[in-house]
């Protein structure tokens, strides 16, 4: 049903989204914990910065990434020279862009569940002899589980749709950075590519529907 190139785009999309979500998750958890439990100056600012990707034009983010991590840019050159890490024109770069763009979804979902559950349970666990790390793993993480799962699924689904930041930062290279949305776009650039674009668009809708329903199901199952 799908051509090899289309299958390639689908699998690449899934891989980019999975890596983006997995890599961002620990940071998202830490940030959500900070926002839900800690009081510190600049909390509002941090909150705003984290939500920035929701309103920032993705192209602007892609450009910023290019400016910072491009091979001739300071940080990009440093990473390439000393660690052999190159992100530009690589699928890992696409994953980085996706991770940043979908970060707010993860933080929000985890923060919500941390604010709703577990207030006071930390004090109870401490009085029962559990130290800070012990409490993190025995109480906070398990309680945040539903939020982590719901956030990860939402972020994954959103990641499948990223376009602007990816095409600006890592271009559209078949098999390397050409994810589903980019494949739709390049199909439309070719004469007679509408049928392919339509198939890929349909596939995107199916994927989005599936993952959003999954996220809903997860949060409903745990809402009690």
């Amino acid at each position: 049903m799908l051509s090899p190139a289309e299958t390639e785009a689908l699998l690449l999309s899934l891989r980019v989204a999975a890596v983006a979500v997995a890599a961002a998750l620990p940071f998202a958890f830490a940030t959500a914990l900070l926002l839900a439990r800690a009081r510190f100056p600049g909390k509002l600012l941090l909150d705003a910065i984290i939500h920035l990707p929701l309103v920032l034009p993705p192209v602007a983010l892609g450009f910023l990434l290019l400016a910072v991590l491009g091979t001739r840019a300071g940080l990009g050159a440093f990473l390439a020279d000393h660690f052999g890490i190159r992100l530009v024109f690589r699928w890992t770069g696409a994953a980085l862009a996706s991770a940043i763009l979908t970060f707010p979804f993860q933080v929000r979902a985890i923060r919500l569940v941390l604010e709703a559950r577990g207030q006071g349970l930390n004090a109870a666990a401490a009085s029962l002899g559990a130290g800070p790390w012990d409490r993190l793993f025995s109480i906070t993480l398990p309680l945040a589980g539903p939020g982590i799962l719901a956030g990860a699924i939402t972020a994954f689904a959103a990641s499948l749709g990223e376009f602007g930041a990816i095409i600006t930062f890592v271009s559209s290279i078949p098999g390397e950075t050409r994810t589903l949305p980019l494949a739709i776009y390049s199909a439309l650039q070719q004469p007679g590519g509408e049928a392919e674009a339509m198939r890929l668009a349909g596939l995107s809708i199916l994927l989005a529907l599936f993952f959003m329903a999954l996220a809903q199901g997860v949060s409903r199952r745990w809402a009690r």
Binding site: A124, A125, A126, S127, L128, G145
Partner: protein
């Protein structure tokens, strides 16, 4: 194990300035809400760092602001039971109970666990999740969980306040049994005088962040909120008429409750259930008559508060001012206290 607490703390408009010591049994922190009871418990548990103060449990200094000592909450071994139970929702009752046990320096043996589970009546709940428990069941699990952590002190912060009267009545006997068999001293925070009168060995009266008085339950509580007397008595045995005879340090009483000779019981008598007679009444339905002395009378308009003393035991009666004048009550006068009804708790 003694607990000595000295605290000064300011939080917004509220200032706490208290000092007290306890030794064994149940020490009640009694007072209206806003008295600072929960802040004291939080400071003992290490959840509140006081501006100034020193808290010593046995020979361990837990908090000393002068010497900059502040033992982390999880190293204090101060078991806490909160009003809302605070069970871990993702763990079954059994895992909740064993949470502190797994982290205890000297964990209880399986035998001791079984005994506590039986004592608190938790056998049938072990496989359930907290959201499937009633309020009273949650309170019992929270109590068991705190005890299995092997605490050196147990602090109960209004553990019954969120329960209705029936559930309270269900928990109180467990608390009494624990008080009588457990070596762990308890701090019991409450604003309910009936609970405190029933449980406490020692009472610290708190109001607006200050200690207003402390001492035995009888000395601190009698005269408050219509409480006429708190008497610790021992069961002597059954009488011929079917009542049970009790002895206390200044006399004997008869009650309908049955208990084995030698059992220690605590009696509570309402101030409205005490009548005063100048001469010994005969042919009267009340079963109990105590020879007492008028210690103090306070007349405010139509009401007369009379403090009677039966040896060291204070008894408080409230009568009308007219009755007090008719009987010509005055301090030092020997009278009879006629007791209409006695509430017994073993």
């Amino acid at each position: 194990m003694t607990l000595s607490v000295r605290l000064r703390h300011r939080q917004g408009d509220f200032s706490l300035d208290v000092a007290f010591e306890t030794a064994g049994g149940i020490t009640a922190l009694f007072g209206p809400s806003g008295a600072g009871k929960s802040s004291i418990v939080a400071a003992v548990a290490g959840l509140l760092k006081p501006d100034e103060g020193r808290i010593v449990l046995g020979d361990r200094v837990l908090t000393d602001t002068e010497d900059r000592i502040f033992v982390a909450p999880h190293q204090r071994r101060a078991g806490l039971v909160f009003q809302e139970a605070r069970l871990f929702p993702h763990l079954r009752v059994k895992a909740n109970l064993l949470y502190g046990w797994r982290r205890a320096p000297e964990p209880a043996s399986q035998d001791e666990i079984d005994r506590l589970v039986a004592l608190l009546g938790l056998e049938d709940l072990l496989k359930r999740y907290p959201h499937n428990l009633s309020g009273g069941e949650k309170a019992r699990v929270a109590l068991g969980r705190a005890l299995l952590a092997g605490p050196e002190i147990l602090a109960l912060d209004e553990p019954l306040a969120s329960l209705d009267v029936a559930r309270r009545a269900e928990i109180l006997p467990y608390l009494e049994r624990l008080r009588d068999i457990s070596q762990v001293p308890m701090l019991y925070v409450s604003h309910a005088i009936d609970e405190v009168a029933r449980l406490a060995n020692h009472v610290v009266l708190l109001e607006k962040g200050r200690v207003m008085g402390q001492g035995s339950a009888a000395n601190c509580l009698v005269g408050r909120e219509g409480l006429g007397a708190v008497i610790d008595a021992t069961v002597i045995g059954p009488r011929e008429d079917g009542l049970t005879e009790l002895g206390f340090d200044n006399g004997r009483l008869a009650v309908t409750a049955k208990a084995a000779p030698g059992t220690r019981v605590r009696l509570r008598i309402g101030a409205d259930d005490i009548l005063i007679a100048r001469v010994q009444p005969k042919e009267i339905s009340a079963n109990n008559l105590l020879r007492v002395t008028v210690a103090q009378i306070v007349i405010t308009e139509d009401v007369c508060d009379v403090v009677l003393s039966a040896g060291p035991t204070p008894i408080f009666a409230r009568i009308t001012a007219a009755s007090a004048r008719r009987l010509a009550l005055a301090p030092g006068l020997p009278v009879f206290a006629v007791i209409k009804s006695v509430t017994v708790a073993t």
